[in-house]
């Protein structure tokens, strides 16, 4: 719950500024467009994966560097197989049917896509509310199945952070080079 406590202190102006930069970048990347997102899910246009993987490599190197210097603390979400596998698959179905995700739908609205504003936004709000209503029934059952807590890959393998960070960075960069070589 550390993130919740910090959230109260985090000045809202920074949130707005960071959001403006995020939205600007998402639009410049084409990620605010249904056609680009569906192109990714149909495996004909790898723009979304290229954006995400280069963000992960860059972000990971910086965050673990700053963590080693004591400048930042990680904010890891606890999880379980019941939560992340089933929830992830349901999310994926919605992702393809809607053609936007919660971040990019905000960008799509700014970009002027009205199916995002009228249909999609209402849907996400309804779907979230349905989950909140069902939550008391789910939390002790399916959501707790296969619980592994706030595990990270370095702790899973019981190794120094950099023994995971460096190979993951190399692997993701090779994957991106592979995509380019394959002409995708």
């Amino acid at each position: 719950m550390r993130a919740e406590q910090n959230a109260k202190r985090a000045p809202l102006g920074w949130g707005l500024l960071f959001g403006i930069i995020f939205g600007f970048l998402l639009h410049k990347g084409g990620a605010t467009k249904y056609d680009v997102i569906l192109g990714q899910l149909l495996l004909t246009d790898f723009t979304v994966v290229k954006i995400m993987l280069s963000a992960v490599v860059t972000g990971m190197l910086g965050i673990y560097f700053m963590k080693a210097r004591g400048w930042v603390t990680l904010s890891i979400k606890s999880g379980s197989l019941g939560m992340n596998v089933i929830g992830g698959l349901i999310f994926g179905v919605g992702f393809a049917v809607l053609g936007y995700c919660p971040g990019t739908i905000a960008g799509a609205i700014g970009n002027g896509y009205l199916d995002a504003l009228v249909g999609g936004l209402a849907g996400i709000i309804i779907g979230s509310g349905l989950f909140a209503a069902l939550y008391p029934k789910l939390r002790g059952g399916i959501l707790a199945k296969g619980d592994f807590g706030d595990l990270t890959l370095p702790r899973l393998f019981k190794v120094n952070d950099w023994l995971v960070v460096v190979p993951v960075a190399v692997l993701l960069v090779l994957l991106l080079i592979g995509l380019e070589l394959a002409g995708l």
Binding site: L38, I86, G88, F95, G99, L114, G123, F148
Partner: protein
């Protein structure tokens, strides 16, 4: 400053930019880039308008707290930032039916809105179930090497790819 008026940038420049942005959100705001909880809070706040203060006592809203906060401002900022970029590059759309959808299923507005609504319901529900979305798990959680996020991100794409193939190749017959 001509680059600001270009419609598209290289996905690698955009990705590296988002990565650097995540350094700043951690360093300055002690927060990861994440969006989907804001939609759940919005849902709870709307429900509170209808059903009153007892909504706040619901177990889920006790956990996520019904205040819009930093993440709400981030999401609002995304709308503004995308609007700014779209206007600067002459790419503001005002479009009801995306081209790719129209090419396969026609340009009737109502079917697309209905499907977007249904997709939104599944996605909103799934984002709560998995406790995160393509930004919270897919980018912020993955870059911190969280196991929950790598599993979720993988499942987002497995579910998404299978569903997209089914919609366009089976139903759409392409």
């Amino acid at each position: 400053m001509e680059f600001l008026t270009e419609v598209r940038w290289s996905p690698y420049i955009v990705g590296v930019g988002i990565g650097v942005l995540s350094w700043l959100t951690f360093l300055i705001s002690r927060q990861p880039l994440a969006c989907s909880t804001t939609f759940a809070r919005t849902s709870g706040l709307l429900e509170r308008l209808v059903r009153g203060a007892r909504v706040e006592n619901m177990r889920y809203y006790q956990e996520i707290k019904l205040t819009w906060g930093w993440q709400g401002m981030l999401v609002l900022g995304i709308v503004c930032g995308a609007l700014l970029s779209a206007l600067l590059s002459g790419d503001f759309q005002g479009q009801w039916v995306p081209d790719r959808w129209a090419a396969t299923f026609g340009d009737n507005v109502l079917p697309r809105l209905l499907v977007a609504l249904l997709g939104g319901i599944a996605m909103g529900f799934g984002a709560r179930w998995a406790n995160g979305c393509t930004s919270g798990h897919g980018i912020s959680g993955s870059l911190q090497l969280a196991v929950s996020s790598w599993i979720s991100a993988l499942c987002f794409f497995v579910g998404g790819i299978l569903t997209a193939k089914f919609i366009f190749n089976v139903i759409g017959g392409g």
